[in-house]
């Protein structure tokens, strides 16, 4: 078990929350409230200056890939220098994963932290273009709140680089880096082939830094309080706090800020060992609750079970639901959300979805399970993006975790006591090319 820097619950309680408003915080901090809580935006007046602090802090991306932030910034800084191009920076709030709500919540409750972070990375890499990319459907009033925040910052003269707001179409892949850059450049929100990386050649061919909005919020605080402060919670190898979207049996998502390394049993509440837990959303992993309850929320622990922290999604499947039925519905969604550009994904995902529907439904044919396993193994790693790999991992973990359910279905029984779906699946998916733009 990894060591947690703050040993006592009290110590952690003192440090958290950092991003989310504290107990005394008003809903949706305005600029004045933001500055009175955190102080002014600490520009360094020097490009590249922030990168050393970020390396010392050990901040990794909070969008799912956990890539070291200082390395991404350095890559963009170097590419800009080498190619003599002015870079661009993008705050990625697309949050295309339906089961995740933490970025929308952050943008609602603490937009100024995100805008601060965006200005700081723009300064660090010398960017002249800054974009905040948000999810079109979840815009609700977030769009209005964000425009208000930008207007406040404009009249206070806070931002040095003007920020554009842009919307991601409600597609599962729209938040992936190359799809985002593709869309901002006027194309559809579908992935492109790597190489080149967007840090090398992205928006309008310029080196482009894409960071998740939560990552930028942490960055805005590290710039104020320093790397040691950041490391006061979390683990030695995975420091800091993170936002998590927790869904327990009642289905309502709870967004909570937790230290990395927190035991999953503290997040899962009353879950029985026979139930199942989904870690990481629809590219993530099902595990028996008995196993999940022994793990902590950090990659060192989760990797032992083949899982990852990802974007902090933790879902406990209620005992009166069927994991096969839920997975079948999610994989059908994943298949419909394929960009359809790559043969293995275009061919494999719909077949996997149909096979799962068969296993979840009445009388599956004897070869269906073997086909499903073969297809999952075949598509992984063979697309331009990680959609087929993620879908395959999700499917394989479902087969491993719900093996007993497969048997039950073969005998004409099912664990589901209600037809109501538990996992959140968006109703409408892409019908035509316009839906990707």
């Amino acid at each position: 078990m990894t060591a947690v820097a703050s040993h006592t619950a009290d110590a952690v309680a003192q440090e958290l929350p950092r991003l989310l408003p504290g107990a005394d915080g008003r809903q949706g901090q305005d600029l004045r409230g933001h500055f009175s809580r955190h102080g002014r935006l600490p520009y360094r007046d020097q490009p590249g200056a922030l990168i050393g602090d970020l390396e010392a802090a050990g901040l990794t991306g909070r969008g799912g890939a956990a890539f070291p932030v200082h390395r991404k910034l350095s890559a963009v800084f170097e590419a800009a220098r080498k190619r003599r191009r002015v870079p661009a920076v993008v705050a990625n709030g697309a949050e295309s994963e339906p089961a995740s709500d933490k970025d929308a919540t952050l943008l609602w409750l603490a937009p100024h932290l995100v805008f601060d972070g965006l200005q700081l990375v723009a300064e660090a890499v010398g960017a002249d273009t800054a974009v905040l990319y948000t999810h079109a459907d979840r815009a609700r009033d977030v769009g209005r709140r964000l425009r208000q925040a930008i207007a406040e910052r404009e009249s206070a003269g806070v931002d040095r680089v003007p920020v554009e707001l842009a919307e991601a179409p409600p597609r599962f892949l729209a938040g992936s880096e190359t799809a985002l850059v593709n869309h901002l450049g006027g194309g559809p929100a579908i992935p492109t082939f790597i190489p080149p990386r967007v840090t090398e050649r992205g928006l309008n061919g310029a080196p482009t830094l894409v960071q998740n909005v939560e990552t930028l919020a942490h960055l805005a605080l590290i710039a104020r309080y320093g790397p040691r402060w950041f490391r006061a919670v979390g683990t030695r190898d995975e420091p800091g706090s993170m936002l998590a979207t927790i869904r327990r049996s009642d289905g309502h998502p709870r967004i909570t800020e937790v230290p990395l390394g927190i035991p999953l049993r503290e997040l899962l509440g009353d879950v029985r060992p026979e139930q199942a837990v989904l870690l990481g959303g629809y590219h993530g992993m099902w595990l028996p609750a008995a196993q999940a309850l022994r793990l902590t929320m950090d990659n060192r622990s989760l990797e032992q079970a083949g899982a990852r922290v990802g974007a902090g999604i933790v879902i406990a499947l209620p005992a009166d639901r069927c994991g096969l039925v839920e997975t079948a519905q999610a994989v059908r969604y994943l298949a419909m959300e394929s960009a359809g550009q790559c043969g293995p994904c275009l061919n494999g995902l719909p077949r996997m979805a149909a096979a799962l529907a068969e296993l979840a439904g009445g009388r599956p044919r004897p070869q269906t399970r073997a086909n499903l396993e073969r297809w999952a193994g075949s598509v992984a790693g063979r697309g331009a993006c990680h959609h087929p790999d993620g879908a395959a991992r999700f499917v394989q973990s479902a087969l491993a975790t719900f093996g007993h359910e497969v048997e039950r279905h073969l005998r004409g029984r099912c664990s589901a006591m209600t037809p109501k779906p538990f996992l959140p699946i968006p109703r409408h998916t892409a019908q035509s090319e316009e839906d990707w733009t």
Binding site: Q341, C342, G348, R382
Partner: protein, 66 residues
Amino acid sequence: MSEKLVVNPIDCEGHGVCAELLPEMITLDEWGYPVIDSRPVPPGLVRHVRTAVSGCPALALRLLRG
């Protein structure tokens, strides 16, 4: 210097010429799309790899350095 043979799966149309020209490193999946050996290209095969790369009707194959 190690080189890796990769396919751009977006450009790939599943013609299958590559598997014909380089069976040592490329097989086709059940839908006709290439499964490529991800190990570095053995020096003895470099010439055949280059033939496969230029033989692809979609120009989807690439030899990457390092």
